[in-house]
């Protein structure tokens, strides 16, 4: 592609999200969307998912808002999207070719989600309740969920099972959206990322970038960027609209409350809100993606490299979001003080593990420079989830899930667990239903 020297539109990355609103699921002969109903041809969907030798059984079920339904153990949630126009396809490097995405038109089945379930690492999958007190704590109680139930072939390694589940979720999501390509669009949102040269926002406003930390500890704690295992990258620049086309895919089996599911990446509220405030409160410079690796050397290298990128971009401020907890707190803190000491203001997005009584140290690491921090809540808080009429998956997994314990599942189906066990309950991207404001 020729490089324009004139400036302007040639350098702009413009993405339109064409939202088809879904408020109900139904089985039917043809997969399609009409009047808020996503009709699914079950056999056709199963045929899309068939043929993976790593899976012995694949089934599909529905879980809709307000129903007395519990899903566990949940691996990932994916929003159905399909590229209507523009280069590449959704989930590049994973399901589609590696062509750069983030431009053109993308169809979104808003209100629908694909939920994958299977016993992979067992303690590191989550719970979704579609009604009752648990529903308040997970955003996926408000989505119409096409639940894909995946059982592994005997003898395959866990990482192969994880790959099979990840790909099944992506395939199902892409299939559903593609079949609805002709549906009436309810709303169009436009996002425009300009090159730094063409950015028209007032030069008096501060420049703010988003430092987007991705879980990359290995052993099934992995995230993928254009199909690349993020533990192998050096921090790099990412255009915010690329994320909306699925450039970041979760391969994570980590504590459910603060793992960033693929759905949350696709709908990252930090990015959406930074776009909204671009040119008003600050100039949104874009995303720097970085990792959370398992050696101190890697943590030091990545934090230094990310801050160097921020300095090169000339930013005044960084919004830093963490994924997970424990040793990633050390990455978060290193990113914070290295940026602050380079003269870049930081705000940290995290959650807390302060014990069931909330009295313990919230983060594993800390620094004096970290004086602006937003928390998504205490993951150790205990909640009682009353029995549901129907459970999709394996209820006894509540006894081994992170945040649960032997005895979490009572005979009548009641589950007593920490919020840690509920999918997305303390999302460090702020993708939660509950919030608090300081008055």
């Amino acid at each position: 592609m020729p490089i324009s020297l004139k400036g302007g539109k040639e350098r702009t990355m413009k993405l339109e999200l064409h939202r088809v609103k879904i408020s109900k699921l139904a089985w039917g002969d043809a997969t399609s969307a009409k009047d808020g109903v996503l009709t699914v041809n079950k056999e056709e969907l199963l045929s899309v998912l068939a043929g993976d030798e790593r899976l012995t059984k694949v089934d599909v079920d529905f879980a809709q808002p307000g129903e007395s339904v519990r899903i566990l153990p949940v691996k990932d949630v994916v929003e159905p999207r399909f590229k209507l126009e523009g280069a590449g396809g959704v989930f590049p490097g994973m399901l589609s070719d590696v062509e750069t995405v983030g431009e053109g038109k993308t169809l979104v089945l808003s209100g629908a989600a694909v939920v994958t379930t299977g016993k992979i690492v067992r303690f590191q999958e989550g719970i979704i309740d579609m009604s009752g007190p648990g529903a308040e704590y997970t955003p996926y109680s408000a989505t119409c969920n096409v639940v894909v139930i995946l059982e592994n072939a005997k003898g395959i390694d866990k990482h192969e099972y994880e790959t099979a589940c990840r790909m099944a979720g992506l395939k199902a999501a892409a299939y559903l959206a593609e079949k609805c390509a002709g549906a009436k669009v309810d709303a169009v949102e436009t996002y425009e990322s300009l090159s730094l040269k063409d950015m028209p926002a007032p030069p008096t406003l501060p420049k703010v970038a988003y430092l987007y930390m991705l879980q990359s500890q290995g052993l099934l704690h992995d995230t993928y960027l254009y199909g690349v295992d993020v533990k192998k990258i050096l921090p790099t620049y990412l255009n915010p609209t690329e994320v909306m086309d699925g450039a970041i895919v979760s391969g994570n089996c980590v504590s459910a409350c603060d793992k960033n599911n693929t759905y949350v990446h696709q709908n990252n509220p930090v990015i959406a809100n930074m776009f909204k405030r671009h040119g008003v409160d600050f100039n949104f410079i874009g995303c720097i993606v970085t990792n959370e690796n398992v050696t101190l050397l890697d943590k030091r290298r990545s934090s230094s490299y990310a801050v160097k990128l921020a300095r090169t971009l000339g930013v005044d401020g960084l919004l830093i979001s963490e994924e997970g907890f424990g040793n990633p707190d050390a990455d978060l803190i290193m990113n914070c003080w290295k940026a602050e000491r380079a003269g870049i203001k930081t705000t940290l997005l995290t959650d807390e593990y302060a014990g069931q009584d909330g009295a313990s140290q919230s983060l594993a690491d800390s620094c004096v420079e970290g004086d602006a921090c937003v928390t998504a809540g205490n993951a150790n808080e205990v909640i009682v989830l009353p029995p549901m009429d129907k459970v999709i998956g394996e209820p006894e997994e509540a006894n081994v899930i992170a945040g649960g314990w032997q005895g979490s599942l009572a005979a009548d189906g009641t589950i007593t667990v920490e919020l840690q066990a509920i999918l997305g309950s303390t999302s460090e991207l702020g993708y939660t239903k509950l919030g608090a404001y300081t008055i």
Binding site: L219, T295, L296, N327, D329, A330, D365
Partner: protein, 77 residues
Amino acid sequence: MVKEIERAGLPVVHVCTIVPISLTVGANRIIPAVAIPHPLGDPSKTAEEEKQIRRRLVERSLKALQTEITDQTVFND
């Protein structure tokens, strides 16, 4: 645990991968380990090399235990 044992009067060496966390929680003698999933070994090495890694960590730890310190100290060699 490191702090509680020291409170009881026994010096402790904390062998750990993420040294900043060890410093934050207040360990006094710190030995940097290999990686979070394998602090005392390295699956990419041979068994003999791994044995050497472990020996070096143990010897460094014993030396740290015998070293007088006045402040939190990271023993890098």
